[in-house]
């Protein structure tokens, strides 16, 4: 059963209800396309994707509220700490961005560091993942130069012990991404002309 799109309105409503019904402090970090829908860069995404920094004693309550809201809204959610998949680049905490426009009572809302997110999704390498990174570049939240710089420091920490971090595959995907960034517009999935 394919779910309805998660639009900006649905996302904003989900976050507001999560804040109100959870009712305790914490940090909510939006991830990837969820950030991009919140910022109005793309009209929809398939899942609400986030990670949350919540006191351990509140964790169960938080998950219960988030799951209940997902069921009520008829959308799927993915909660994942990107650092569980790849090592994160130095300084990722400081590069989280406050999410403007959300007036919440309890939770603080952020966008996770775009470089960390870019590397995590390049590592997965599905087609929407490339367009996710191109969209960050297009909106100036990252630059190719800084991405290269951070990756030079980060790649030696990738291990050949897990498929998700396979350095040879990562390099191939990253090279493909750079070629795309010079050739196609973000979200132009079809075979198109140079931009």
């Amino acid at each position: 059963m394919t779910s309805a799109y998660v639009t900006r309105a649905i996302l904003a409503n989900f976050i507001a209800r999560l804040d109100r019904e959870f009712g305790r402090p914490g940090r909510l970090y939006l991830i990837g396309e969820t950030t991009q829908v919140f910022e109005g860069w793309r009209p929809w995404t398939a899942h609400i994707e986030f990670t949350a920094d919540i006191a351990s004693e509140d964790r169960t309550a938080f998950s219960r509220v988030a799951e209940g809201l997902a069921a009520e809204f008829g959308v799927s959610t993915i909660e994942e700490w990107p650092g569980d998949v790849i090592p994160l680049p130095e300084g990722h905490e400081g590069r989280a961005r406050g999410a403007a426009g959300a007036t919440l009572q309890h939770l603080a809302l952020y966008h996770f560091d775009p470089y960390s997110i870019a590397f995590r999704f390049i590592a997965r390498g599905d087609e929407p993942d490339y367009h996710l990174v191109l969209t960050y570049l297009e909106h100036g939240w990252m630059t190719v130069e800084e991405m290269k710089e951070r990756l030079t420091a980060l790649l030696p920490r990738f291990t050949a012990e897990t498929i998700q971090q396979d350095p040879a595959e990562f390099r191939r995907k990253y090279k493909g991404l750079l070629q795309m960034s010079e050739t196609v517009r973000a979200r132009a999935t079809h075979r198109s002309t140079r931009v």
């Binding site: 394919t2 012990e161 079809h190 075979r191």
Partner: protein
């Protein structure tokens, strides 16, 4: 009843889909196929592709190829040594309960654009794209268990499907991912009065006079391909070691005995 009508009736009524099972009537008896939805990864790729194409049409850009819409379709007769292969335009149809709603949107748009000459594509572009986008803005209203095609030439594909109503469809996307799916289907032949035919025809008509379509006016049949098997053929690196532990163990270039390749 004329012979042609009898033949058409036999052709269009031999497949019935009830309760998620396609029942195919054959001379030797009935065969059943459990049908299922296309996988989420494929659906996502299709939706991205549709929106990407509509963006390009909106900007009146050159579209080099529409891989999401033009997969290779294989059909075969019972005796043939090789399948017939053809790139065909393939689209989706609403779930039965939403067919009336979207048929109204798309056929109303067609009625509007037909008030102008066919070459007035610039004047009607906004209306045409809005109608198509409205359908693909609601993936939960799409029946992802079936795809629709329009028959034009009544050639090898029709002959094969008349004799042997099965088809395999292969989609392949662009570098560096090369999204690729093979979808195996049992085929229902449908005639112009069927709402699914009308929907497929009207969607095609919205973009009939854009430069990426060879203009066609005759579609004797439409096909409803019911999905009963899907293979994700998107290329992945093959690791020589055992895969079940999700490691990149190089295995010294040898495949470990009993190694599995999870999909």
């Amino acid at each position: 009843m004329h012979t042609r009508e009898v033949e058409t009736s036999a052709l269009t009524q031999r497949l019935q889909v009830l309760g998620g099972v396609a029942q195919l009537q054959e001379p030797g008896g009935t065969r059943a196929f459990k049908i299922g939805e296309l996988p989420e990864e494929f659906v996502r790729w299709q939706l991205d592709y549709k929106h990407s194409i509509y963006d390009a049409i909106e900007r009146d850009e050159y579209i080099a190829f529409n891989a999401g819409h033009l997969p290779v379709v294989a059909t075969w007769s019972r005796e043939s040594l090789v399948p017939n292969l053809a790139n065909k335009g393939v689209g989706f149809t609403p779930k039965d309960e939403y067919l009336g709603r979207y048929l109204d949107i798309v056929e109303s748009a067609v009625a509007e654009i037909e008030k102008l000459p066919p070459h007035a594509v610039n004047e009607t572009r906004h209306l045409r794209i809005a109608a198509a986008r409205e359908f693909y803005a609601h993936p939960e209203h799409i029946d992802w268990r079936r795809v629709g095609l329009l028959e034009i030439f009544e050639g090898s594909t029709l002959r094969n499907l008349t004799e042997n109503p099965f088809a395999s469809v292969l989609w392949t996307g662009n570098s560096p991912v090369f999204v690729s799916f093979q979808v195996d289907c049992v085929v229902e032949v449908i005639t112009p009065e069927d709402p699914r035919y009308r929907f497929a025809w009207a969607m095609r008509r919205l973009f009939e006079y854009e430069p990426f379509h060879v203009v066609q006016t005759m579609y004797p049949y439409s096909y409803c391909f019911w999905v009963y098997n899907v293979k994700n053929k998107t290329p992945k690196r093959r690791y020589p070691g055992r895969r079940s532990d999700h490691t990149v163990n190089e295995g010294h270039g040898k495949i470990a005995p009993g190694a599995t390749t999870p999909q």
